[in-house]
């Protein structure tokens, strides 16, 4: 995808996050273009999840701006923020389905709250969304009755219930077997093609990254910011930064630390 032709839907400007006195990242600048699948990668502790939480309005950054179509969600009033939230869908790492509700109730919740659609239409929408994620017929199941992969799919169905313009995924395939993870990737591609939704995904799975990402952002703990940005295959083949190379080639960086074993 040629990002030059696309208009940015989210612009992150000079974003900094801290935990107490610890700087997680600072001076973060990037854009999310309409219709693209942006994957955020990086080692544990580099602030991927913090960045995602800031982008979905769950956490306030230390400084900086996150502009959604010109509106800064960092300084936005609750009312404006709610407007923004109706335009996004989020799939959490643990799927975060409401355990006390059936799958149907989980999906119909935002539809009932924010629209005046009649119940019969809502039911059809639920069936359609569940069909999209290959969970047709599971309307009346409780989340506890579903497997990990099915929960993720139900979570996606809930996230796309309102046909959001941007979808966020936290640790998309964490804890899933390779086959289920691959199914999820296909589902992402299918959803992106069908709905044209912009997606921001945090994941570690290299295979997923190659398959679904239009563009990759790599964060680094030491650099406290972005160390690479580009198409996944280009990064794999052309990156000169050893940190980026070692991530994409799945190699451990060389450090003398590893040779500290006691040898009699």
């Amino acid at each position: 995808m040629d990002t030059q032709e696309k208009t940015p839907i989210i612009v992150v400007k000079d974003l900094a996050a801290r935990f107490g006195n610890n700087i997680v990242f600072e001076g973060l600048n990037f854009q999310v273009y309409e219709g693209e699948v942006l994957v955020i990668v990086g080692a544990s502790g580099c602030g991927k999840s913090t960045l995602l939480k800031i982008m979905i309005g769950l956490q306030k950054p230390y400084s900086g701006q996150v502009l959604y179509q010109g509106m800064d969600i960092v300084s936005a009033e609750e009312k404006e923020l709610n407007q923004y939230r109706q335009n996004i869908g989020v799939l959490f790492q643990s799927s975060a389905l409401f355990g006390s509700m059936t799958i149907r109730e989980n999906i119909e919740l935002p539809l009932q709250e924010y629209t005046d659609i009649d119940q019969a239409t809502i039911d059809s929408i639920i069936r359609m969304k569940l069909g999209m994620v290959n969970l047709a017929g599971y309307e009346n199941h409780q989340p506890s009755e579903l497997s990990g992969g099915m929960k993720k799919r139900a979570g996606i169905a809930r996230a796309i219930a309102m046909d959001p313009r941007v979808l966020f995924f936290d640790e998309l395939s964490a804890g899933l077997d390779p086959v289920t993870a691959a199914e999820l990737d296909d589902l992402i591609i299918k959803t992106e093609e069908a709905l044209g939704t912009t997606m921001v995904i945090v994941t570690h799975e290299l295979e997923s990254i190659y398959k679904i990402a239009h563009r990759v952002l790599m964060l680094d703990k030491e650099a406290k910011g972005i160390i690479a940005e580009g198409k996944p295959l280009e990064l794999k083949e052309q990156a000169t930064d050893p940190r980026v190379r070692s991530f994409f080639l799945r190699q451990k960086p060389d450090t003398s630390d590893e040779q500290r074993f006691y040898v009699s």
Binding site: G57, R85, V90, S94, A96, S100, E113, F261, Y262
Partner: protein, 425 residues
């Protein structure tokens, strides 16, 4: 596999020592593992420190089984000897043993002194005492034996504990103040949510309110009735024992109904609801926090307090006064059972006497108290639930703290009511 290993290498070991001048040869044979680590380590150490030595050679040729913990113990023996300027060598290690030694990292050995301290008979300490600290130890405070001795002495410790004690009191006080501030903030947020619901009644989740009315109210009926009845029985019985001495049996019904309606009914019901529902609210919201469900609500544009706390608070405020009246009635019935069976009072006398005592004002205050207790209990339960950050331990911690704080607040509120109603009346 395991049986085969046992057959080839029984779980026994043998250590033989040969002394030649200032050199010690230790021959290990058999099975060295976690199970016999403490015994063989102290056996070897005892032999090494018995007399002055220059070198120790540990021969592994007879070892048929060695696990990583035993290997670590042997490395510690070697390091300990080195600190005493005794040269130590491990020889005739087979490939498997070498492999095991290769996984021992230097940093696993850092806590050497504390390991030595734990030795069965504290021989190391005795040894140092006898030798009055070897010259090498005096040279450097870094030396582990020096640190070992230092740690065993306890001067200046009491001053430290005293400081710790004051510090802990300070920290706990700050924590309590912070908790209270958080609770007040939460009550404010709850009020805002209520105002929103008054303006937008449709946004109240009626289904949830009904669900919690059933949970906190209907499901609680049997236990509330049982406790109410027993309380009535106990008060009647205990007061009867006293009153019969002055022939004032006729006042037993008055005491029972007065005590139940004024104090015991509302307090007992509130404590029961705190135990049943306050804990349930805290655990439920806490688990939702852990499972990111509250975050999901946020991102879907739902205000979690409005969505999760308000239905619970409304349901509790509706059911607790009803449960209280129910408990009062059962208390009076309990007293009646004793009155009719043991006090020679007729049913009619008992009821008339009770009715004489009860005033509408008392019933109204009882219901008001119950409603306020209900508000406190449910708000505390929800607030503590929202404080959970991570993991099952947090859920347990905040659930316990919710119940403790709820009971405490019930008693505080009751004291305030006692004074307030005294002046109103």
């Amino acid at each position: 596999m395991k049986t085969q290993k046992r057959k080839n290498c029984p779980e026994e070991y043998n250590i033989s020592f040969i002394r030649k001048d200032l050199n010690l040869f230790v021959n290990l044979s058999g099975h060295f593992s976690l199970q016999n680590l403490m015994v063989f380590r102290s056996e070897i150490n005892r032999e090494i420190y018995k007399q002055k030595l220059e070198s120790v050679t540990i021969d592994f040729s007879g070892v048929c089984y060695l696990d990583s913990a035993a290997a670590l113990a042997l490395v510690q023996i070697e390091k300990g000897a080195a600190h005493q300027n005794i040269q130590c060598r491990l020889i005739n290690l087979n490939d498997k043993s070498k492999g095991i030694f290769s996984v021992i990292r230097e940093d696993a050995l850092i806590d050497l002194p504390s390991q030595l301290e734990k030795l069965q008979d504290g021989f190391m300490y005795n040894l140092i005492e006898r030798r009055k600290l070897p010259a090498s130890t005096e040279k450097t405070q870094d030396n582990f034996i020096f640190r070992l001795v230092e740690r065993r002495g306890l001067p200046n410790q009491s001053g430290k504990y005293y400081k710790d004690f004051i510090w802990q009191i300070w920290q706990t006080s700050v924590q309590i103040a912070k908790d209270f501030a958080k609770f007040v903030t939460f009550i404010g947020e709850l009020m805002v949510a209520f105002l929103y619901i008054i303006r937008h009644p449709k946004s109240l989740r009626g289904k949830d309110v009904l669900f919690y009315i059933r949970r906190a109210g209907v499901d609680g009926l049997p236990i509330v009735a049982m406790i109410g009845l027993l309380m009535g029985l106990i008060i009647a019985f205990m007061s009867f024992l006293q009153f019969k001495m002055v022939g004032a049996n006729i006042y037993v019904p008055s005491l029972v109904s007065f005590a139940m309606i004024k104090e015991l009914g509302p307090i007992m019901t509130a404590i029961l609801v705190a135990g049943r529902s306050c804990s349930a609210f805290a655990a439920e919201i806490g688990t939702m926090m852990v499972n990111e469900e509250v975050d999901a609500l946020h991102t879907m544009g739902f205000e979690p307090i409005r969505f999760l706390a308000v239905p619970k608070v409304i349901a509790t405020v509706i059911v607790v006064p009803i449960l209280t009246v129910y408990a009062d009635l059962f208390g009076i019935v309990g007293g009646l059972i004793i009155g009719v069976t043991s006090l020679d009072l007729t049913l009619k006398t008992y009821v008339t006497q009770s009715m004489k005592t009860i005033q509408i004002f008392d019933i109204v205050t009882s219901i008001i108290k119950a409603a306020v207790f209900a508000g406190l209990i449910s708000a505390i339960g929800c607030q503590r639930g929202f404080q959970v950050r991570s993991g099952a331990q947090d859920v347990g911690k905040f659930t316990t703290s919710a119940v403790v704080m709820a009971i405490f607040m019930i008693v505080v509120a009751d004291s305030i009511f006692a004074i307030m109603f005294y002046y109103i009346k």
